[in-house]
C-alpha cells in the first residue's frame, strides 16, 4: 500500500543536505509551509539556495531561516519582508546573494523544470537590466529573452487536503506557487491542514497529483495571519 504520510516534521525533512536548492510555495503569508521551514532551521542545514516569491512574512519561516544565516543565495521576485529588514541587512552586508527574477518568469522557469523544458523564450524583461548577460533573439519582429529551467533538490509545499497517494488540493489563493514547486523538485515534501481518505478528493479537481509528491505530514496549524 502506498502511504506517503510521515508522522513528524523531522522525518518529512530527513536527508536534506547542506547546499541544497529549496523551492518554497506560498505568496505572502498564504500557503507557505512555515512549519517545514522552521523544521529546516531546527535541522541545521546551511548554505542553501532558496527559491521563493517573497523573502518571507513576519518573523517565522523563511524570515527565520534568513536570520539564522542558512541561506547563501535567494532567487526571488520580491525580496521584501513586511515590517522587517532582515533581508535588506544581509544583502547590504554582502552576506547573501540575490538573483532577482520577474514573478512570471520565476513560475515559468519552475514549470519548465517540471515539464522537461530546459529553456524557453519570453518577452518579459527584454530590454531591461534583468536581461543583461542573457541570450536574446528576435522572433516575428519582437525581442525575447532565453530563460532556463529552475530545478530544486527539495520543494516545501502547503496543502489544504492530502491523501495517502500524495494527491493535493489547496484553498483559494493558498494554491499560488505550490503546484509549481511540487513539479520542479526531486523531493517534494508537503504539510497539509487536512487528511483525506483515498478516493474522497474529486478526480476533476486534484490540483497536484501525487506523482509530484514524495512525503506528506499532517500539520493542522490553522489560518495564515497577515
Amino acid at each position: 500500500m502506498i502511504d506517503k504520510f510521515v508522522n513528524s516534521v523531522a522525518s518529512a525533512l530527513a536527508g536534506i543536505q547542506d547546499g541544497s536548492t529549496i523551492l518554497l510555495g506560498g505568496f505572502g503569508a498564504v500557503g507557505q509551509a512555515n512549519q517545514l521551514i522552521e523544521g529546516l532551521v531546527e535541522a541545521g542545514v546551511r548554505d542553501l539556495t532558496v527559491v521563493a516569491n517573497n523573502a518571507g512574512f513576519g518573523t517565522a519561516g523563511l524570515a527565520h531561516l534568513l536570520r539564522a544565516g542558512r541561506v547563501r543565495r535567494l532567487i526571488c521576485s520580491f525580496p521584501r519582508i513586511p515590517g522587517s529588514t532582515v533581508f535588506e541587512t544581509l544583502y547590504r552586508d554582502g552576506k547573501i546573494e540575490l538573483e532577482l527574477v520577474p514573478q512570471g518568469t520565476l513560475a515559468e522557469r519552475m514549470r519548465a523544470a517540471g515539464a522537461g523544458i530546459p529553456a524557453f523564450y519570453t518577452a518579459t524583461s527584454a530590454g531591461t537590466l534583468l536581461a543583461e548577460g542573457k541570450e536574446s533573439r528576435e522572433i516575428n519582429g519582437r525581442t525575447y529573452v532565453l530563460e532556463h529551467a529552475l530545478h530544486g533538490d527539495v520543494a516545501l509545499v502547503e496543502a489544504w487536503r492530502a491523501d495517502r497517494w500524495g494527491n493535493l488540493t489547496y484553498r483559494a489563493s493558498g494554491r499560488n506557487f505550490n503546484p509549481v514547486v511540487a513539479m520542479a523538485a526531486r523531493l517534494t515534501i508537503v504539510q497539509t491542514q487536512h487528511v483525506a481518505e483515498l478516493g474522497t478528493l474529486d478526480p476533476e479537481s486534484i490540483a497536484t497529483p501525487g506523482i509530484y509528491v514524495n512525503r506528506v505530514v499532517h500539520l493542522p496549524h490553522g489560518d495564515p495571519v497577515l
Binding site: 505572502g28 544583502y91 520577474p102 512570471g104 518568469t105 531591461t128 494554491r175 499560488n176 506557487f177
Partner: protein, 218 residues
Amino acid sequence: MTETAYTPRNRTQLAARIAQDIPEGWYVNLGIGIPTLVADHVPPAREVIFHAENGVLGIGPAPDAAAVDPWLINAGKQYVSLRPGGSFMHHADSFTIIRGGHLNLCILGAYEVAENGDIANWATSADDAAPAVGGAMDLAAGAQRLWIAMEHTTKDGRPRLVRQCSYPLTARAAVSRVYTNLAVLDVTPGGFRVRDMVPGLTLAALQALTDAEIAMAD
C-alpha cells in the same frame, strides 16, 4: 496668456476617472496603489473581471471584517472576495493569462513613462539597496493594453512624462495611456497626445510640467 486656476485630481478622483474608461467584459489586472482603487469605482452592474497574479480571477470587493477568508488575498496581500464566476489557479497558469496576452488591460503605477511608451516602475537605480520587481515586467510585457496611473510630477516637481526614462526600465514601448492627476494622455507613434485635462488647465501649463513634448489629440 492668463494662468487659469485648476484643481488636480486626488487619488480617489483619479481612480474614478480611470474606471470610467473600462468597458464591461474586460479582464483587468490592477497594480498596487492607485490602480487597486479603480475597482471600487466600477459600478457592480458593469461586469469587469479583475485578475491577481497570485491566481485569482474574478476578484470582488474587499470583504467586511466578519466575512474575511484568510486564504483569499490579492497580489498586494490584502483580503479580497471572489465574485460568483471567479476561479483559482496556480502561479504558472496565472502568469499564462498575463504573459499570453489574455488581459485586456493592466493598470500600473510608474516612476516615469517615456514618449515611446517605455515604463520605469520597479527600481530607482541600477544598484538598488534591495531591488524588487514582482510581476511588473510580466504585466507590462504581456497585457494587451498598459495604462499608467501616477502623479504628473514627482513631489519636488520633476516631470514623470519624459523623453527618455532615467530609471531602469520595466518594459520597452509598453504603455498605451497615462492617467495623471492633471490629464489623460495617449502614447502614440507621434508621442504623447492629450485626451483631456482637469478643468482650467491649459496645454501650455501642462507642457510646462512635462519633459516630453505633448500635443492635443485630434
